[in-house]
Amino acid sequence: MSMTTLVQKTGEAADKGLAKAANPMVVFESVSKRFAAGRTSAEVAALDGVDLTVPRGSVTGIIGRSGAGKSTLIRLVNGLEKPTAGRVIVDGVNIAELDEKSLRDVRRSIGMIFQHFNLLSSRTAFDNIALPLEIAGIDRQTIEKRVTPLLDLVGLSDKRNRYPSELSGGQKQRIGIARALATEPKLLLSDEATSALDPETTRSILALLKTINRELGLTVLLITHEMEVIKTIADHVAVIDGGRIVEQGPTFDVFTGHTHATTRSLLGGLAGLHLPEFLTRQMVEEPEPGLRTILRIIFKGENATEPMLARLGSDLGIEVNIMAGAVDEIAGRPFGMLVVSLLADEARIVEARRFLADHGLSSEVVGYVR
């Protein structure tokens, strides 16, 4: 696609912005999927009553442990799997109802990238990107015109005639992305696309996906087990566990709100959710006179904490010690946590927490130390 089409698409994406909420790209309506018992296995319920909405133009991430049903979920969107019950609606069309022929047409409007890239070893980078176009019966001249700018877009124009075995993992995934974009889809499915890549390559691939989402107005639905991926690019997230969606919504809200146990355990690596060991070792659960209260203060977005802590001292006369702290970024917004200890009686602690709450900072008492 040329620069002009890029610009046009961005314009279209902006126009559609208003309709986003009302007209989602993908909707799952109480979808269940069971796999019939095999010779060596019992019947498995991979998905159980899933309701999920993927807003148009969003990057929506589905996170869960392996075996949670993520792969099945994403394969229902392009009909690689059929639901046992419920409806999967993509851009207004119920995928489960389509016959093979119409399903093939729909698939041409949905790109997909894979954990292990799934490039044909017998084809060059160019010919791999050309494959979906050949399948769609597009003539060689048009193919040439479409593939060249795609190679540019993913920054691999110089690898045009290389075979996959001559490319690095990150380069292979870039070719995979270019291939997925070749038929100018409206939706891109990403099946653990960065799970086989090192952290640095992961970042560059995620940046590329974000660019494509922004500039082409393409909706991206990705599944992953990596919190980093969600934090970095997903503006919407759904947490899946045991075949059920346990939480979904805007990423920032889900990750910083009252989170489900599964979300919390997946968030494990997120800054400051774990207390430092030196604190937990000496912490007790019940207050006693003379003990210092350990408070976890959570700040979201752009709240400044520094002056608030200073004012706890100056306005309320409470001495504040900072024990631990960290700042992270979720969906482009800062999210941070401070663990402080306060020497004050219970009434004063309540007062201090009200003061913080009045200034938009939530806090929780996690324990007491000497």
């Binding site: 093939r104 894979f114 769609a136 075979y163 075995s165």
Partner: protein, 221 residues
Amino acid sequence: MSADIFALLLKSMGQTLYMVAVAGLIGSLFGIPLGVFLATSERGELFAAPSVNKVLGLIVNAARSTPFIILVVAIIPFTRMIAGTSIGTTAAIVPLTIATIPFIARLVESAIREVDPGLTEAARAMGASPVQIVFKVLLAEARPGIASALTLTIVSLIGYSAMVGAVGGGGLGDLGIRYGYQRFMPDVMAVVVLVLIVLVQLVQSAGDRLARQFDKRIRPR
């Protein structure tokens, strides 16, 4: 070695090449599609037809376990139907072809099964039809394996063709047996064996080169 024997050697070599070429060609024509079908027709696969797959598998196994020389004799009526006669070089092509089809089919089947199922899935996600998947993905990716399969087939055919002397098929093997062995002409025998060795060697290295050329999986050194 007299000029007569030399002419006989050339003639026999021509017969061998003729039988191997025709049987190899027709065998591939039937064997490759059969192999593709065997590899794609089990439950849940592209052309799922588990019972047909099972029946064809049984037939293929039966044909492969029948000793070739017995097959030659057993199908004489069929040979007569196809070739109009049951003796001679052309007639010998019939059992050679019949033996080749299941041989190629099994080799092609395993070459196709080597193709990463992820590629089939990717092609399905692109909206490819089953036929497109066979031609654009499976056969394309299995080319190195299929080249090796055909090489092995031709080498085996050269060996099998030595046995069709029993029905007047002629060829190098027949020359070796009738002159070298039955008429006590060790020099003829030696030359026949030598020619066969060279022939197999040529086929094998040409096949290997082809397979290497098709195989883009290894980083070129």
